[in-house]
Symmetry: C2
Subunit: 347 residues, 2 copies
Amino acid sequence: MQYKLALIGFGNVARALAKLLVRKQDVLKSKYDITFSFTGISTGSHGCAVNPNGLDIQKALDLVESGQSIHPISSSPVSNSLSVIQHSQADVMFENSPVDYETGQPAIDHVRAALNAGMHVSTANKGTVVHAYQELISLAASKHKKFMFESTVLGGTPIFSTFREAMPAAELTSFKGIINATTNIILSRMEDGESFDEAVKYCQRMGVAETDPSGDVDGWDASIKVAALATVLMDTPLKPQQVERSGIRGITPEMIAKAKSEGKRYKLVASAERKGTAIKARVAPELVEASSPLFGMMGSSTGLTFRTDVLPDYSITVTEREGMKGGPVETAYGLFADFVSIASIVK
Amino acid sequence: MQYKLALIGFGNVARALAKLLVRKQDVLKSKYDITFSFTGISTGSHGCAVNPNGLDIQKALDLVESGQSIHPISSSPVSNSLSVIQHSQADVMFENSPVDYETGQPAIDHVRAALNAGMHVSTANKGTVVHAYQELISLAASKHKKFMFESTVLGGTPIFSTFREAMPAAELTSFKGIINATTNIILSRMEDGESFDEAVKYCQRMGVAETDPSGDVDGWDASIKVAALATVLMDTPLKPQQVERSGIRGITPEMIAKAKSEGKRYKLVASAERKGTAIKARVAPELVEASSPLFGMMGSSTGLTFRTDVLPDYSITVTEREGMKGGPVETAYGLFADFVSIASIVK
């Protein structure tokens, strides 16, 4: 089947998605009977373009990556994301506009508009899940469309799809893991002798920490992800503010050295546990033993352990390796997987 | 939709499956619109029974678990597995007869008969995958039915379904892991000071090792699983005999002590790697560093790391926990998950 795709947000992740789709177009056709064209693109600062007959995606990538506007490739004038959605006639909209953790906007409006226009949606934008999961899932169901968000936690690593497709009817009673790469890199480097400030500066140089690193080091990013995981996988709405949160600023080099001498190490551990009808969620540094699945996760490696009623503790880990340390390409894979899943359901 | 189920083989795993289906019947109905009845059961030494209108499964469990024949609950006389398949009128056949690693029989004949009779099949029997994967998958496809086998590797842990559903179009270039629990328990106990013989005896007492432990300690079981994984996930037929294999008999307490003093440990590592059109597969003891995802897998914990073209190294680990250490209940969950997946595809 032929799918028309709209890309709302055309930053690193969306461009990696476009390239991945092009790279995988043969296997999509042969194995999944999926063909596609891009019919709408909305960028942050390089204009918008629509063409229900298909845009030249390579041209769009070239223009944006050389700092130019994509306006010339549009078949009709469009000036913002909502009008791109409206005029793209897309079957699937990928929402990757910049995330606003306070409100989830404008991403939530984009998702609403696309679902109301009869499109499926896949997003890497955590704000939509944290602020409007129940509404958007219900809206999607009422339109017989899908709202999907695999990439919002641990990049493109399959978490939501694992529970949806591979672990049917499993009751998740708790989960625990390392879900913020920046703090894990900092703690790993401190174990090798760097100070906190040196390790933060390293992360900033590598582009994995912001100028203000507090979103990572104070545990906010991890809390948002815990909230998204609990909301979806435990079917219980949870706000990031409800997560008991402490960051890694209190972990001294002395504490790390002492732990090391005992064969242990500190990790910023995110967890959630069902307590009756409520969820008790927490992000805090913990001393981890060598026998823990978390012990071996160093640097940008991340992972989660899930406790269910049907299997022994089940862990998913993503280990950094040279040339592939998480990032836009991997996040794009989550959107790609959502798309294939949508197409499989539709067919 | 209503499904008629046939259980060929009614040992620990099949009985755990029957109990799991009964325990989960409400969520199967409400969330997946699945209802079911059992219409055929074939046991090893307690007879056979069929009833296209539904057998009393609790009665069957009670009879077998008190050492009696299930023959009295049958609506017509049946004397063997093939006639149970033929007369059950089942929609799904679960094949859990004892495995024969040399030939894969009689399980392969059971699967053929069920597919030819228009049934879907799910099996925990590794012999069928190792000896007849291509034939059975093709036969299933020609009948528009499914041949599924999630439980054949790592019990009920989702591996095949992860690649099928959650990691579409991912190219698997290599995998590596610990996939035999018995040898991992032995190595873990030797690290705590036991001799090889003491550790083997412990496993025999716990029922996880056979009287002749060579299938585990010489790496045969792991080789069979590697062959199954490579055959399915790398789409390249591989026989257990093609796996370069060495077991753990050569690992001395001295070697283990030396590794421990260096912060490392020995693991029986199973791996496979694509080399052009061929697969290079190996089962052998390896010295593992603390940073490896394999390092923390102790006792009956098992797991696999997958290298693909779309994500950083992706690991799935199953960690033993009190009261849930792998076994029939978890293996049954793989069959259960296959069934829900079949029902989702059919719907």
